[in-house]
Subunit: 225 residues, 2 copies
DNA sequence: TTTCCGCTGCCAAGTACGTCACAGAACCTT
DNA sequence: AAGGTTCTGTGACGTACTTGGCAGCGGAAA
């Protein structure tokens, strides 16, 4: 397993080499291809996952079968930790959005680590607080902004986290279909498509397969407020 | 200060009497009347608050001045903890919804406690995880349910937490104006008013001043799905 | 290669909800 | 008790969005 990402993760950064090596022995490697689920809503779970490479979407299904995405997570990020501290079935389904490699850590292993290394719990608290803040952001966006605004925000957020400089702008290889993007911003695919088309028409974006190139960050950011 | 609520709070329940007494010395008492703010969006803050009595709303303001509520919190609940683990200005405004008494705890005091008492950090993790789950619930509700559905959900949630049995149903003294209720469910006051009127007309509710009596929990719950 | 299926783009129609507008009720303040 | 301010109730109207439907395109599979 590629341990480089793990070693650099804030959660484990404070550990010395010895403690880190012991920890990696506890990790379970999980490989997934696009569309495969790590766990589903309602499952019993006692494991936390760390994303080594790839992307994962956390989603929920409504009683009548519609889907909504809570978050898109990338390398270095954690998920599934809630089941550990607030024990109850999983409240979301975690699905790989691209080829993905995870490291799973069992409840007991984590607890052992927390007992011997209190700094780790501070890191966990921080990670959880950050996630809560992001979720609160999504919540206000949903109330305050119209669909084009939310699409713009989502793209900028994805650019922040997964963007790479390209010749004429920032390439955001989000790996999402427009349907998934729509579920992420809480709108219909149709409306998201129109918003994207409008942005392209204005010269702010270029669309590529499961990716966009942001050409005018400035304007897009203005539209997202 | 009334220390009973504090003593029973999960966060401090594991402490022995000696440790608890030392802790209470570190607490700052804060009293607020309806409408008074503890802190505002953008403030610098290094304190966590514990609600002894009363209710607090956490809200955000949009660039154009509209308001949205992230949560209503009651006795025994915590807020303002994010500023400690993910240091940055406050991202929400905390305002008393009724006569409210808080206990404030400074960053340093908490950290000292966490160092000597690792169990406390487990409780904090749990509290944060629970909050994240609730926020995720609100997020999906906003996407999946229409306004009447969200109003029903909000009332049931408030009933769960603040409801008291009455002669003909459950009295929910939420202390919120319809405007605030609307901000909580992310809708306009008018639409919320109409939803409430419909529920009353169907015999599911009775309205009182800043309170409702739920007469038919069953039906209301069905409508909320 | 050819076939097929998922993804994209777009039009047309219906609707839930926001905005505006006003009136009555309830609640403080003096 | 009077007066103002804040809250509630309700109708009319416009619109941003959803739903449904369909056609073209591209990539994967056979």
């Amino acid at each position: 397993m590629d341990i480089e990402v793990l070693r650099r993760a804030p959660l484990f950064a404070t550990l010395d080499d010895e403690a880190f090596r012991l920890l990696t022995d506890e990790l379970t490697e999980v490989d997934l291809s696009r569309g495969a689920s790590v766990f589903r809503e309602g499952d019993q779970g006692d494991q936390l996952y760390f994303i080594v490479s790839g992307k994962v979407k956390l989603g929920r299904t409504s009683p009548d079968g519609r889907e909504s995405l809570l978050a898109i997570l990338g390398p270095g990020e954690l998920f599934g930790e809630m089941a550990l501290f607030d024990p109850s079935p999983r409240t979301a389904t975690a699905t790989a959005v691209s080829e993905t490699r995870l490291a799973g850590l069992k409840n007991e292993s984590l607890n052992a680590l927390l007992r011997t290394r209190p700094e780790v719990s501070a890191q966990l608290l921080q990670a959880l607080a950050r996630r809560l803040r992001r979720t609160n952001d999504s919540l206000s966006d949903l109330v305050f902004s119209d669909v084009p605004g939310r699409v713009a925000k989502a793209l900028l957020d994805l650019a922040d986290r997964f963007g790479r400089p390209a010749t004429d702008g920032v390439l955001v290889a989000h790996e999402l279909t427009q349907e998934e993007l729509a579920q992420l911003v809480g709108a219909s695919r149709e409306t998201v498509n129109k918003a994207l088309a409008e942005f392209v028409q204005r010269g702010w974006l270029r669309l590529e397969a499961r990716a966009v190139v942001i050409l005018d960050m400035q304007r897009l950011r203005q539209r997202s407020r």
